[in-house]
Assembly symmetry: C2
């Protein structure tokens, strides 16, 4: 089994108009994704934000659930928060994951780097370097991040006839973890 981590990127991402922006950290992105990541056995869940005040806010929330009153009220949240790391950017998450870490991102681009979910699952259950799966907030990861990826995971496709697809990043992350790491 390969070591797997995930990172939620707040910059550089796109907004609706495909302008590069920086997203705000939301409380639910901290909770929901850390709980999903820990349940699926990920080694770490990184939240990457370039602004120190945002990182400090995330760290305060983490401490509330790790050592504060939240840890006594809902002890089940302690293990996920132990594996949450607040970092400045993708490079810091890659460095923390360790040398030779592969970067995987979800992208509709296809091409020679594309990796279907079944092949990704088989690869993770074999041997190899650590993997860091990057998710973007807002309207998705900027091209400069996607271009750094070693592999492009196929996006989740809508089964609807009209193709409507507006999953939250929290739902998309949970579904990707389940497809790649879920017990069948």
């Amino acid at each position: 089994m390969r070591r797997v981590s995930a990172v939620l990127i707040h910059h550089p991402i796109y907004d609706r108009a495909r302008t590069i922006v920086t997203g705000a950290i939301t409380n639910l992105d901290i909770h929901d994704i850390s709980r999903s990541a820990h349940t699926y056995g990920l080694e770490a869940y990184y939240i990457a934000h370039p602004i120190a005040a945002q990182r400090e806010l995330a760290e305060r929330i983490r401490q509330h659930w790790l050592t504060g009153s939240g840890s006594r009220r809902i002890p089940d949240r302690v293990p996920p928060m132990q594996n949450l790391r607040i970092v400045s950017d993708l490079d810091e998450a890659l460095a923390s994951s360790g040398p030779d870490t592969e970067l995987w991102v979800t992208s509709a681009r296809g091409g020679e780097k594309s990796l279907p979910h079944d092949a990704a699952r088989a690869s993770l259950h074999g041997e190899g370097p650590p993997v860091l799966i990057a998710f973007g907030t807002g309207w998705g990861l900027a091209d400069e991040i996607v271009e750094r990826a070693n592999y492009l995971l196929a996006p989740i496709r809508s089964p609807r006839p009209d193709g409507f697809n507006h999953l939250s990043v929290r739902a998309a992350a949970a579904i990707i973890f389940d497809r790649l790491l879920g017990q069948r």
Copy 2:
């Protein structure tokens, strides 16, 4: 293809001490699950709450995204909100879904009503009466709800050696929709 809907139950549910309680509606349970439900082609997503003031709050949030300023800022949220229905209880959701609707709930109980995910998927892609999948907030649906179910869906199992499983209801719903209705 059978018609499928989901309902999020706020009463009767258990708290940590396995006492029957009523949960508060949270904003993110409205958004995230309605977006996941619509992306996976569910006909309706019901939020069931016995307290009128809570239902009114949910309806105000729904209208914000459906006809208010939110609908202009993020038009992609309109279709999911069109399929969101605020109801008092499970019976109102069942009646709205139509006669002969089957109730499916996630439960670790097993027994003769148990329905593995693969069999559930095959059943939904065939012919039959409408299906309503019920999810519980808090620490899960009360026994009196589970006992009314026609089928018990297998719970999502953690792949971890220690079995740690603390998925949010939002993540669990997204994963169940994907396992039962996702495009493969």
